[in-house]
Symmetry: C2
Subunit: 310 residues, 2 copies
């Protein structure tokens, strides 16, 4: 049997056909073309699902279910997207819309949660608790408890990015000030980089980031020995590490993976975080959390969504 | 059948005999007399257990199990206290020691966790997630997921008080700076009160707290219209509310109760917290967390420990 996984984002709709070993056998994506009515977007999604299966030579009889990972808060039991401010949708039954075109079980879940599920399944061992933290445009969190996504009674749990770490600090997209997201997202890293570039005209960052400042600018400069770049990176990593220490103290996950664009920095990002958490976590006399970089990259969304049907 | 619950603290060992309706039928306490060897303390505990049952006219045949709530991190599966800095114990098998005197199943758990379990059972309805936050000497947390204590793979999860909320802020007992505990504990409230008393010699707090400054001093002054007292209380409540908003965003518990000495302030504490969380929580379009004051007071430790045997 096969499972369809959909990674719905503000920019793209990515559809993948996934086998029982959680491997993608075919995938394709189209633009989300937002803003537009949900009915239109979901019609396009259904047609792409049919095409991805057709192109792989897999008939709908061989497909067990369709899973959709979406930004926002979901009523998972009923297949309804309750609210997603960045899609502009409220109370949309994904299940009913997809059922107009395809007669298969439809599951929906928050995108950070399905990505965490995919990374958990990839680890291929049972854990009481597993956490994935995504450092992207925002900071997303997914928590897997005893093999199941933890999203609590309203489907909105595990918003790990929206925890204040710097009281009265930088404004966050959620309306509060000083959230982890406001310091540890790629967006915030870019802001921190730009601020330091203005303060340090001699910095290599002004050269590297001349055309466009990205989440890589400060890291690239720091690797080349640039002092200002190193200040940005050290400061950024400290915030990430402080946030991850909080998460470790709360969940004591057996493993925690860090995903999102920033994690392409690899050990340069990871090793100081591991070091910081080791020194600062509450528990020091017990088994402690293993921290690593997420393995699935952009495919985590498709694979995790598909695995909702397992 | 009956269940024995033990609330072990740095000052007292409280033992209660609890019936199947989670009601205490007899209880008694003795001093912990720390520091002293664990063997001695656990011998006294066993003798008190026997006495509490005897005094109630309940034979050991009618007792199903013994549950012990203790500070520190537990290996619950094996009945071992792994580490408790404020008891001064490391790797003590409570189970083996109690078994020298009483042949009953012995369960151990962290004290904040058992208190949360007791408050959950008191609510008498199934919830996917329930959280108890204790504002006492420290800030404790207990999380109940699907009716079970969540403490993760090493038994040390849910240290909600040890999450940094004010980066580089006040020093915390855990070694970090700016933890929720360093701002929201009764200890911290007393510190904040003393600081404001020095700054405001005209404040009523200097009169109320002349003999001893307690967690009530600022609240008592504020209720009488004292401006400085109100500043302390507003500031304190803001930190508590910020921390609880974080917890709500992470766990989205169906209900959250606030316990510990400070919660004797009742609505004067509770209502501004509810208001703050309502305005600041991430989720606004869904069902949200019900926040209230814990119901069981000091008995939560005994009842929750006893209920470990259920």
């Amino acid at each position: 049997m096969y499972y369809v996984g959909v990674d719905l984002g503000g920019t793209n709709i990515a559809v993948g056909l996934v086998n029982e070993n959680a491997e993608i056998v075919n995938k394709e994506s189209i633009k989300s073309k937002l803003p537009r009515p949900a009915e239109e977007l979901l019609k396009d999604m259904a047609q792409l699902i049919i095409k991805v299966c057709d192109d792989a030579g897999v008939s709908m009889n061989e497909v067990k279910s369709i899973g959709i990972g979406t930004p926002g808060s979901c009523d998972c039991a009923n297949g309804v997207l309750v609210y997603a401010n960045n899609l502009g949708y409220e109370n949309v039954s994904f299940k009913d819309e997809i059922h107009k075109y395809i007669d298969k079980p439809v599951y929906i879940e928050n995108d950070a949660n399905v990505a965490a599920l995919a990374e958990y399944i990839k680890k291929d061992r049972k854990m009481e608790c597993f956490v994935a933290v995504t450092l992207g445009t925002g900071v997303g969190g997914g928590v897997i408890i005893n093999g199941k996504i933890f999203s609590s009674f309203n489907g909105a749990g595990a918003e790990l990015g929206h925890t204040v770490m710097v009281c009265d600090g930088e404004p966050c997209s959620c309306g509060r000030n000083g959230c982890l997201e406001a310091y540890a997202s790629a967006t915030s890293l870019i802001r921190q980089t730009k601020e330091e570039m203005e303060k340090s005209p001699e910095s290599l960052m002004n050269e590297i980031g001349m055309v466009k400042v990205t989440g890589r600018t400060a890291f690239d400069a720091a690797r080349q020995g640039d002092a200002a770049g190193k200040r940005v990176v050290d400061n950024y990593i400290r915030y990430v590490a402080e946030g991850i220490t909080n998460i470790v103290n709360i969940f004591q996950p057996e493993e925690l993976v860090i995903g999102g664009g920033v994690c392409n920095e690899g050990d340069y990002l990871l090793l100081p975080i591991i070091d910081y958490v080791k020194k600062n976590q509450y528990v020091k006399k017990l088994k402690t959390t293993k921290i690593s970089i997420a393995e699935l990259g952009n495919d985590a969304g498709i694979i995790g969504a598909a695995m909702l049907g397992l």
